[in-house]
């Protein structure tokens, strides 16, 4: 298991407590503090546009962590994340718009409702495995979006619903920066929670279920319980991400949650690194920003050859696919692994060969 924070080097630990600390050494604590400060001060020097993009990255990262708990840690591939995002989004939309609830109440409720729906669609995991289960989650995708688009009275049907930004006291989080803070804080909580969960009893059970379910059973692990639990926890975070996204874009509609979205999330965890929290974050950033980067390239090229715009747009798709393939070929461990290598390189840097 690749762990975000555990650094396996030869330092001598005097007690188990120290051996199991998240931030072992002083220098590690300082490093994380610096990162924290950078994240929190970012809106002060980054442009509005970048703050907006990073907000999207953070939201995706929350969802990707959720999916990774299911797919990376428990080994159950899901192609239904898109729909679960939708459940989160619609729950908060209905609660805040129709029932006038505060965002701060509806956000956790969105997570909980999605968790329940996720748990429901996790029931087939009792009997299904691998790709069969994956396609069963695709069924969840199709069925949920169908229900959303047909339940007109509640969901507004295909036209969708309009939401507003959250309010604290009298302050509305309209600006990109304020919303950025909201999402980044929730992302941090998510990371902290999942890292802790995964290094304790439940997390180990997840890994056991993934690697060898029969042996796991003999270790006293109730397979069905943990499989569904993984669906529930995973969906909770996906639901939170969906709710955050909905209030960010201020609209929900069935078309927002199509299968392409599901596949993108799957790409995030795979490119980032299965079973790695850090990987989920890096993957979310990569998949969110790669098209942006490619768009810039297309723009640049178009400036010189405006007539070829169409061609370049198609090229974007081509390169996107190519990037994913090259990634898998040259770094099958995902972004998290690359990160590890870079870190290793610098740790021994002056003495590396």
């Amino acid at each position: 298991m690749r762990n975000l924070f555990v650094r396996e080097c030869g330092n001598y630990k005097t007690s188990y407590k120290k051996d199991m600390k998240l931030f072992g050494t002083k220098s590690e604590i300082i490093k994380w503090l610096i990162l924290l400060i950078i994240l929190l001060t970012l809106p002060l020097y980054a442009s509005n546009y970048w703050v907006g993009l990073l907000t999207l990255c953070a939201i995706s990262a929350i969802g990707a962590i959720g999916l990774n708990i299911l797919t990376g840690f428990t080994g159950q591939i899901s192609i239904g994340v898109g729909a679960f995002l939708g459940v989160g989004g619609y729950t908060t939309a209905i609660l805040t718009t129709t029932y006038g609830l505060s965002f701060w109440i509806s956000l956790p409720l969105a997570g909980i409702v999605t968790a329940l729906v996720g748990g429901l669609f996790g029931i087939p995991s009792l009997r299904l495995k691998g790709l069969y289960l994956a396609i069963a989650t695709l069924a969840a995708q199709v069925i949920i979006t169908f229900i959303i688009s047909r339940w007109d009275r509640v969901t507004g049907g295909t036209a969708g619903m309009v939401l507003s930004r959250p309010v604290i006291g009298n302050y509305v989080l309209t600006s990109n920066a304020s919303y950025y803070y909201l999402t980044i804080i929730i992302l941090m909580l998510t990371v902290l929670y999942s890292v802790n969960l995964l290094r304790t009893r439940v997390g180990r059970a997840f890994l056991a279920v993934r690697d060898r379910d029969i042996a796991a059973q003999i270790m006293g692990i109730n397979l069905f319980y943990y499989k569904v639990l993984a669906f529930i926890i995973s969906s909770f975070f996906v639901g939170i991400a969906g709710a955050l996204l909905a209030h960010y874009t201020m609209i929900v509609s069935p078309e927002l949650y199509n299968i392409q979205v599901s596949i993108q999330y799957l790409a995030m965890v795979l490119i980032g690194g299965l079973g790695s929290i850090l990987g989920s974050i890096l993957g979310a950033i990569f998949i969110t920003l790669l098209p942006v980067g490619l768009t810039s390239v297309v723009d640049l090229l178009t400036a010189y050859m405006p007539d070829l715009y169409q061609l370049f747009s198609a090229f974007k798709e081509f390169v996107f696919g190519l990037a994913i393939i090259l990634f898998l070929i040259f770094e099958p461990g995902g972004l998290a692994h690359i990160w590890q290598n870079i870190k290793n390189y610098f740790r021994v840097w002056p003495f590396s060969y």
């Binding site: 078309e255 747009s313 798709e317």
Partner: protein
């Protein structure tokens, strides 16, 4: 942080030549699900801006169109919209589909960026909910109403006319359905059947067989080319003699190309915009542009014209705004004012003339009806609306 709600451009956007820069953002679908019509539409928009430049541009302005392909993926559209707004500093947007236009509706309202898209959803007419959206052609609902009016006026036979509705399960597909049903009731046309047919459908036999049971005289199709072709072909296969009439995206040259002249013969549709081969005064500009590019009207189609018209209306508004506010950077609200003061803008027959007002963002309710004859669309009416 900064105030993201302000769409105002940065203070020194006027170039060294003293011209004020005005950036219009474009959201295109080129590689996505509607790329077949999205591409010529995007070309039309770009062509109009190029044409303007060719003719010396707009006095005192440095007009730019910066467009991006979102492949009909709405999350991508949201990202690109942010990019246009924050990075490119766009002050107005030329959009595309119903899904993304709806998804951005709230956002453009809070960002105060006027938004013209190729989606003619009736929702967008609601000024309170969509204060920055503008429709440059008759809404899908108005198109449907116009068809109903035509049916009532032209129906032959003793029984009152019966109607079926064929659409897909998307915001686009469902947009006009309720309005059409309401209006049908009003004018005494009986809606006997509705069928949902997927956008990607390669066969629709079960739906058509079900429809056949009700034997409607007419069927209105709200689809894109692919599904429309499927419907027409399967109807022919099953020997159904209902008169099919498509709304504007279900009409156009593509249908004939796909199903062949034979099957398409007799199919009717809304012609919201002119075909390049029609002899319209408005075509002169397009021809001029094409000549300069070494192209002919055979290289373009109706969707190109549609894009061209949308761009033209937006530029018209910018011109008015620029005249009214000669100083400082142009802002979204100013362009909205410009749009709202457009009165009976003559589009030379390329489309129905448009007018907007602060309480009316629907440029027109007028359409033409056409029919496929000998493998070609021919208009059978002039521009008219159900209110005429």
């Amino acid at each position: 942080g900064q105030d993201s709600a302000s769409p105002s451009t940065s203070s020194d956007s006027s170039g060294s030549d003293g011209k004020r820069t005005v950036v219009v953002g474009g959201l295109y679908d080129i590689t996505g699900g509607t790329g077949d019509v999205g591409t010529p539409y995007a070309e039309g928009e770009k062509a109009y801006f190029e044409y303007l430049e060719m003719k010396g541009g707009v006095e005192g302005l440095n007009l730019k169109l910066i467009g991006k392909d979102y492949a009909y993926q709405i999350p991508e559209a949201q990202k690109l919209y942010q990019e246009l707004r924050d990075k490119e500093k766009a002050v107005a947007i030329l959009g595309w589909g119903t899904g993304d236009t709806e998804a951005l509706r709230q956002q453009v309202a809070s960002d105060q960026l006027p938004f013209i898209s190729a989606s003619y959803s009736e929702n967008l007419k609601n000024i309170k909910e969509s204060p920055y959206n503008f429709l440059t052609a008759a809404s899908y609902s108005d198109q449907g109403r116009a068809i109903l009016k035509w049916i009532v006026e032209n129906h032959e036979g003793d029984n009152p006319p019966t109607l079926a509705l064929l659409y897909n399960d998307t915001a686009f597909g469902r947009s006009p359905i309720e309005d059409i049903k309401a209006y049908a009731k009003e004018v005494g046309v009986e809606v006997v059947d509705e069928q949902v047919i997927d956008v990607q459908a390669t066969e629709a036999q079960s739906q058509l067989l079900n429809m056949e049971k009700k034997n409607p005289d007419y069927a209105i199709i709200q689809q894109t080319w692919g599904a429309t072709s499927t419907i027409l072909r399967d109807a022919k296969t099953l020997g159904i003699d209902t008169q099919f009439i498509g709304l504007n995206w279900a009409a156009g040259e593509g249908i004939i190309d796909i199903v062949g002249a034979d099957v398409a013969e007799g199919y009717m549709g809304i012609l919201s915009h002119a075909f390049p081969y029609e002899d319209m005064p408005g075509m002169a500009e397009i021809k001029e542009y094409l000549d300069a590019k070494g192209k002919t009207i055979d290289d373009i189609n109706q969707k190109f014209v549609q894009g061209w018209v949308a761009a033209k209306i937006m530029v018209e508004a910018i011109k008015i705004a620029a005249e009214k506010y000669p100083d400082g950077d142009l802002t979204g609200p100013q362009i909205r004012e410009g749009l709202e003061s457009i009165q009976n803008l003559d589009l030379g027959g390329l489309a129905a003339n448009v007018s907007f007002a602060p309480d009316n963002h629907a440029g027109t309710e007028k359409i033409r009806l056409g029919i496929v004859k000998n493998g070609k669309w021919e208009p059978i009416t002039d521009y008219f609306s159900h209110n005429d």
